[in-house]
């Protein structure tokens, strides 16, 4: 049957197998010949001639000279010929307006024709002729046609109003066509309704503030009815129009959604996408606790997935839109990762888009699969795709912490392939991984440095330079490496130049002695030999900073960098909202608002998602932005892509710093090469050695208390804290004052200070957590490294409520001594890891060993004597406690509070000898002899212990207890 049809058609068009000849004529005098043919008496010849004219027109030849002759052929009852002439008219009428008038009569006559197809054809064509005089004549026929009895004519007339509006908007208004058009929305024929909607929507776009479409529940109802009956294209017009409506409340919103969801099963992808747009928009208004809300979410996933089995071009449009939907409502497709796996034969544009969505959907649950796929892709042929796959691996590392290690090793494997662009791409992403997980993967730096020579792309070079500068202290030949880049400084791109400048300044601040020459060289290259203003400005600022206040320079240039955001290319929320309102359209393909690519007044109006306004009892505050759920929490930590200038400058192209700006420059600042090595430099060098007062306060004082955290650039302010000593309980156990263990700048805004106490036989770690960041902190947890006495948390860290910005919370954590043991240096050092929703932070602190003195540490006298003798004299250590003004009894009772028990007291020659015993939680006994001489503020203490290592700590305890 089908074959028969085909045969039939072939026969039907067989006669025209020669039409292609019209495309071949290129001889001279052609126009003249055509003219003669057009004026021929024979109909067939005329028709052939018009065909030739149209063919010439198509290929771009100017056949406007034939205008009068072609128009003469218009008066015909041969519809085919008529259509050809009309086609010609539409093309050339504008260039020959005077002659176009000749056609008017025929048009007007045709508009009265008995055949509806001819009436429609006439009104359709007239609307396409942009000549004022014709337009005037169009009004009357159009008015008639809008009310024609035949729906075919009415639907054509509806579109014609939009055409006329495009030519002369005023005329349309004056003639009252808009009202007639509005009436057509209630037409009985669905196609008329659809075209009227399309025309009105287009006209409304150029009058953003007119209430032309006047959508109200009644008209919406009409549209929804027509939606079920009209053609696929009509459904698109209606859905696109519906998307502009804002329902009055959530009930109306829901009822519209219910009537739109069946469209998700339409075979036409555009109908599906437009329906998705309406649903995504109206969903904003539904309360989230509504059952229907979750039903709707579930209904959206399958049709979106189905779009991926469409033709590749449509897949592309669908994927660009899914990219938006995934950002707005990640929950819809979170379980559909597999459908975005790239197929070998997908066109490249589909592959790239799929990859993007894969990364957005990557989570701890599916990361293994995703990584396996990405690794596969990184070996493909297409360079862009491979690059993007490598980049994706890096993004996975940043997004899913658990996978970071595997990602890094995958990247290293890829670097080993030595494929140039793979190596470069890998280095760019490894830089970001370093930023996200500082002090974790630096061991790979050596491998990276091996590939230095193969880097020829600015981004990779800049990344490598950043790495060298950032880890200058760990790379032995950092100066040589950077110097090698300096040779071709002026041939580098700006990105590389800026990075090189910063990296060398960093290097200088870290290794000032060896790199003076280098830094001078780069500063002069940047400031004197470059005409790039950005580079020059940065050069000058570094120069001034270094010469004025090198300490400040250090604080600024080596400042802690804020955390890097997981999603680096999220669309900005307001733009995302606008784009959601444009699902299915070009704007959603470009990911740009229409105003960015549409000229004139159209599309300038910014669309927004509706705010949620409840009709019933459940009125919540409108939370448009928060609708996505996860977005707002992360917001403060996201690095703006175009950072402010200051941030850009200080933070070395990466991100703005959390610290405040540079200190105000001192007066009398001078510029010049020599100045650099003047006073400023001296104090810089001094600072490092410990001579500078500002640095001295920090570095000099710190080691006494927390030697383990020497690396921490403790600010000068820390010194003050030592004076703040908490009030110890005079007779109870000694509790050292709380000190800052983890400064906020080291821990992304989390500050931890604390101390240890022994209360009623239980060791407590007492912590003060302060949130100095902008975002809420939750999910706190704590862990200890193995330590000398097996200290371990006896329970979880009890931070039940989230810690808001500028909030402080005190917690005490009971500790047990049954954890794993490892000898630490110093003995009482404790390494702690604290985790919260942002990151994991490490610090170390020292606990007073007196925390470990148990309550049953009082030894029998005999045992004491025997033990004392038994312990070899080599194990005895003697210490002096200076400036202690207590008498022996007071000292004894004070020590008892800390479980240091006096067993016997002897007075020899006015000198009190106190014999004491201490038992540590791990069963080690410490025996002590304290000699106190009346009037002498200096005590002598001898400690004897089978494990002499503890003596030093025990002595510190004595000192601390007695002096407080």
């Amino acid at each position: 049957m089908e074959w028969a049809n085909q045969l039939c058609e072939n026969r039907q068009f067989g006669s025209k197998m020669t039409d292609s000849k019209y495309f071949t004529t290129t001889k001279k005098g052609e126009i003249f010949e055509l003219k003669a043919e057009l004026n021929s008496d024979k109909k067939e010849k005329k028709k052939e001639a018009v065909k030739k004219v149209i063919a010439s027109m198509t290929v771009g030849k100017d056949v406007s000279a034939l205008f009068p002759d072609v128009v003469n052929c218009m008066q015909t009852d041969n519809l085919e010929l008529k259509k050809l002439v009309y086609l010609y008219l539409m093309n050339y009428a504008k260039s020959q307006p005077d002659m176009a008038i000749m056609a008017v009569n025929t048009f007007v006559k045709d508009c009265e024709d008995a055949n509806p197809l001819i009436r429609a054809l006439a009104v359709r064509t007239m609307g396409c002729i942009r000549v004022d005089k014709i337009t005037e004549y169009l009004c009357e026929p159009l008015r008639k046609c809008l009310k024609d009895e035949d729906p075919y004519v009415r639907k054509t007339a509806a579109v014609c109003v939009a055409k006329l509006h495009d030519i002369n908007a005023q005329l349309v208004e004056d003639q009252g066509f808009l009202d007639t058009l509005k009436d057509l929305i209630s037409d009985s024929n669905p196609m008329v309704v659809a075209n009227a909607v399309a025309a009105l929507s287009e006209i409304a776009e150029s009058h953003p503030n007119s209430n032309l479409l006047d959508l109200n529940p009644q008209s919406i109802n009409k549209l929804l009815t027509a939606l079920n009956e009209c053609t696929e294209w009509g459904q698109i017009f209606i859905l696109d129009c519906l998307a502009n409506y804002t329902p009055r409340d959530d009930r109306e919103s829901q009822s519209i959604c219910e009537r739109v969801t069946p469209r998700l099963s339409h075979a036409n992808s555009a109908v599906v996408l437009s329906a998705v747009k309406v649903l995504m928009k109206f969903m904003e208004m539904l309360p989230k606790d509504l059952d229907y809300y979750s039903t709707l979410l579930k209904k959206l996933a399958p049709p979106l997935v189905t779009l991926l089995s469409a033709e590749p071009e449509l897949q592309y449009v669908a994927l660009r839109n899914i990219n938006l939907i995934v950002q707005k409502r990640p929950e819809i497709l979170k379980h559909e990762m597999k459908v975005f796996f790239v197929k070998y034969n997908d066109p490249i544009y589909v592959k790239l888009e799929k990859l993007d969505i894969m990364i957005r959907l990557a989570s701890q649950a599916n990361i293994a699969q995703v990584l396996a796929e990405l690794k596969e892709y990184a070996t493909e042929v297409d360079v862009d795709f491979v690059r993007k796959a490598v980049r994706a691996i890096g993004r996975c590392a940043i997004k899913v912490e658990q996978s970071a290690e595997r990602c890094v090793s995958t990247l290293l494997d890829l670097i080993q392939t030595k494929v140039n662009y793979v190596v470069q791409e890998a280095i760019v992403v490894i830089k970001d991984i370093f930023r996200k997980y500082p002090n974790k993967y630096e061991s790979v730096i050596a491998t990276l440095c091996e590939n230095l020579d193969s880097l020829d792309e600015p981004e990779a070079r800049a990344a490598m330079i950043w790495i060298v500068g950032e880890y200058a202290e760990r790379i032995d030949n950092a100066d040589e490496l950077l110097e090698s880049f300096l040779e071709g400084f002026h041939d580098e791109s700006t990105q590389v130049q800026l990075q090189l400048l910063t990296a060398i300044v960093k290097l200088f601040l870290k290794k000032p002695t060896e790199t003076q020459e280098l830094v001078q060289q780069v500063l002069s290259l940047a400031t004197q030999d470059s005409d790039n203003p950005d580079l020059r400005d940065r050069g000058y600022i570094y120069w001034r900073l270094l010469s004025t206040d090198p300490v400040a320079a250090k604080e600024v240039v080596l400042a802690e960098k804020p955390l890097i955001s997981e999603e680096t290319d999220l669309i900005e929320p307001t733009l995302l909202e606008e784009l959601i309102c444009h699902i299915g359209t070009l704007a959603s393909v470009y990911h740009k608002p229409p105003s960015a690519f549409v000229e004139g007044s159209r599309g300038v109006m910014h669309k927004r998602l509706p705010a949620r306004t409840g009709s019933g009892e459940s009125t919540e505050s409108p939370d448009v932005g928060a609708a996505g759920g996860s977005a707002p929490e992360a917001a403060p930590s996201i690095i703006p892509s175009q950072g402010d200038l200051l941030g850009d400058l200080l933070n070395l192209d990466m991100a703005p710093p959390t610290t405040s700006g540079p200190p105000p420059p001192s007066t009398g600042m001078q510029m010049g090469g020599m100045d650099l090595l003047g006073g400023g430099l001296d104090s810089l060098l001094g600072g490092d050695i410990g001579g500078s007062p500002a640095m001295g306060a920090g570095f000099g004082a710190a080691p006494a208390v927390m030697p383990a955290s020497l690396n921490a650039p403790v600010g000068g302010g820390l010194g003050d804290l030592f004076d703040l000593g908490g009030v110890g309980m005079p007779m109870g156990a000694y509790i050292p004052p709380k000190i800052v263990w983890l400064p906020a700048m080291k821990a992304k805004g989390l500050e931890i200070s604390g101390t240890f106490a022994r209360r009623a036989g239980v060791i407590q770690m007492e912590l003060i957590l302060t949130n100095k960041a902008m975002s809420v902190m939750t999910d706190f947890a704590i862990q200890f490294n193995r330590n000398s006495f097996g200290l371990a948390p006896a329970g979880p860290l009890q931070v039940l409520t989230p810690l808001g910005p500028n909030q402080t919370i005190e917690v005490s954590l009971p500790l047990s001594t049954v954890g794993p043991v490892m000898k630490m240096d110093p003995l009482n050092n404790l390494q702690v890891a604290v985790k919260n929703n942002i990151d994991v932070f490490y610090f170390s602190c020292q606990y007073p060993i007196s925390m470990l003195f148990v309550e049953d540490g009082k030894m029998e006298r005999q045992v004491f004597l025997a033990t004392w003798k038994d312990i070899p004299n080599d194990n005895e250590s003697q210490f002096q406690i200076k400036d202690c003004h207590l008498n022996s009894d007071a000292a004894s009772s004070k020590l008892q509070g800390s479980n240091i028990f006096t067993i016997a007291k002897r007075t020899v020659e006015g000198q009190d000898m106190l014999y004491m015993s201490i038992k540590l939680s791990n069963g080690i006994w410490v025996l002590a002899e304290l000699r106190v001489q009346a009037g002498n503020p200096n005590y002598t203490i001898s400690l004897k212990c089978r494990a002499p290592e503890v003596s030093q700590c025990v002595f510190q305890c004595y000192e601390a207890v007695l002096k407080n």
Binding site: K16, L117, L121, K155, F237, S269, V317, V339, T585
Partner: protein
């Protein structure tokens, strides 16, 4: 909306150019040719923006169809329209080739005038278009005929004309599935899905109401609950029914009815059309399993062994089996031994192509090949493209079964029993790949 439509040949010469909007100038034709058709690099996107003008294109053999616009047009609609335009042209004059387009350019202009108005797609149903765009003129029509045409073009049932008569009422249903697979070298299914189509050829008189039923899990479960006992319901739905992830329907199907009752009812177009498309991902019968073994022997030799196993009823026969084993670009020679069928190394396609005409279910066959390689200094590793497979099996890999297709035509005197119905299942390979 759509500003214009151009059709080019492979050289970039314009075959058809129709501009609907004033903001599109003649230079747009050239812009697309220069920036896309003649572009040095491969086209990276089907949507291109050149000087604030957007171009959408699709390619059919070596013909380029491009839509141009300066507005924020519905992009999905544009592509759907382009595909539809291709369908319409194909149904009028067959293959879309330069020659056919040149031979039918007047017809194409006439079609473009009808199916796009001011850039808005109008009626694009070939069924109704053919009633009045015939290239024969419409002189002879009576007034009744004319209004019948216009009411069909604009009406609710634009896809079917009134007054169709057949002596023999007959319908054919084809369940056509393509089964897609991506398998890891270790035999783990990375992704698998079936995309199926139900294609109907209807030769029915009048305006028949049809109702289509299949073993959709949701329907069967519903029926099971309402039926005798829950137990019985479960036993029938156990293997008999399938879970359909999603389906889309021809515009003749009443979607709101499907949404509320999940029943598929419609008045069919006359002749052949696609009733529905569906997708399933659960419990797919994978008709073949490919087990690859690639061994690199030094730098100049590869040993490849591939076993295929058929996994369906032994009484059924798979046909047109083809296994494509990719070979490296620097292959100098290949020796193949296969147990069944014919295998050949095709240098131009960089692959060994192994063809087997027929293979019954639960069988196994094997091919082994030695690939000689030319030594190269190319550092880049061979990407090892996946082994792909083609086949055709006489069942639906998704497990879909047609339960009924009922026809009601109240006005004419034939009943459901009088209609001769045919059902056929064909499962084909889609992208059926095993990584090696």
């Amino acid at each position: 909306m759509i500003g214009g439509l151009f059709i080019y040949n492979h050289k970039g010469e314009v075959l058809i150019s129709r501009v609907y909007r004033d903001d599109i100038g003649r230079n747009a034709v050239d812009a697309f040719r220069v920036n896309v058709i003649h572009a040095r690099q491969q086209v990276r996107s089907p949507v291109t923006n050149i000087a604030r003008t957007s171009f959408f294109h699709v390619k059919r053999s070596n013909i380029w169809l491009a839509v141009v616009t300066k507005q924020n047009v519905n992009a999905a609609m544009v592509f759907e329209f382009l595909y539809k335009m291709c369908d319409v042209m194909a149904s009028y004059f067959g293959k879309i080739s330069e020659e056919n387009i040149k031979n039918n350019f007047v017809l194409i202009y006439e079609l473009l005038d009808e199916i796009l108005d001011f850039g808005y797609p109008q009626n694009s149903e070939t069924g109704s278009l053919k009633t009045f765009i015939t290239q024969q003129g419409i002189k002879g029509q009576t007034k009744e005929e004319q209004s019948q045409i216009t009411s069909q073009v604009t009406g609710q049932i634009g896809w079917r004309r009134e007054g169709i008569k057949y002596r023999r009422n007959e319908l054919f249903l084809d369940v056509l599935e393509s089964v897609n697979l991506l398998m890891s070298p270790q035999g783990q299914v990375l992704s698998a899905h079936v995309s199926g189509r139900v294609v109907m050829k209807s030769y029915l008189s009048g305006m028949p109401e049809c109702k289509f039923g299949m073993n959709d899990k949701i329907i069967i479960d519903k029926a099971g609950k309402g039926g005798v006992t829950n137990e019985a319901g479960k036993s029938t739905s156990g293997k008999q029914s399938i879970a359909i992830d999603d389906c889309t329907f021809n515009q003749c199907v009443r979607l709101s009815k499907f949404d509320s009752e999940r029943s598929i009812s419609f008045i069919p177009p006359d002749g052949e059309y696609e009733l529905m498309r569906y997708r399933t991902t659960k419990d797919i019968i994978l008709p073949f399993r490919v087990i690859p073994l690639v061994r690199e022997v030094g730098r100049t030799k590869l040993e490849v062994k591939v076993v295929i196993k058929s996994n369906f009823k032994p009484s059924l026969l798979a046909q047109k089996i083809e296994v494509r084993i990719p070979t490296p670009l620097n292959t100098s020679g290949v020796q193949v031994i296969c147990m069944k069928g014919k295998a050949k190394y095709k240098a131009s396609e960089n692959a060994i192509v192994w063809k087997i005409k027929r293979m019954a279910g639960m069988k196994e066959s094997q091919i082994s090949a030695e690939i000689e390689l030319l030594p190269t200094n190319d550092k880049k590793k061979w990407a090892r493209p996946p082994i792909s497979m083609n086949f055709e099996v006489p069942f639906a890999p998704s497990g879909l079964k047609v339960r009924y297709l009922k026809v009601f035509e109240s006005k004419l005197n034939y009943s459901d029993h009088d209609v001769i119905k045919w059902v056929r299942y064909i499962g084909r390979s889609g992208i059926y790949e095993t990584r090696c």
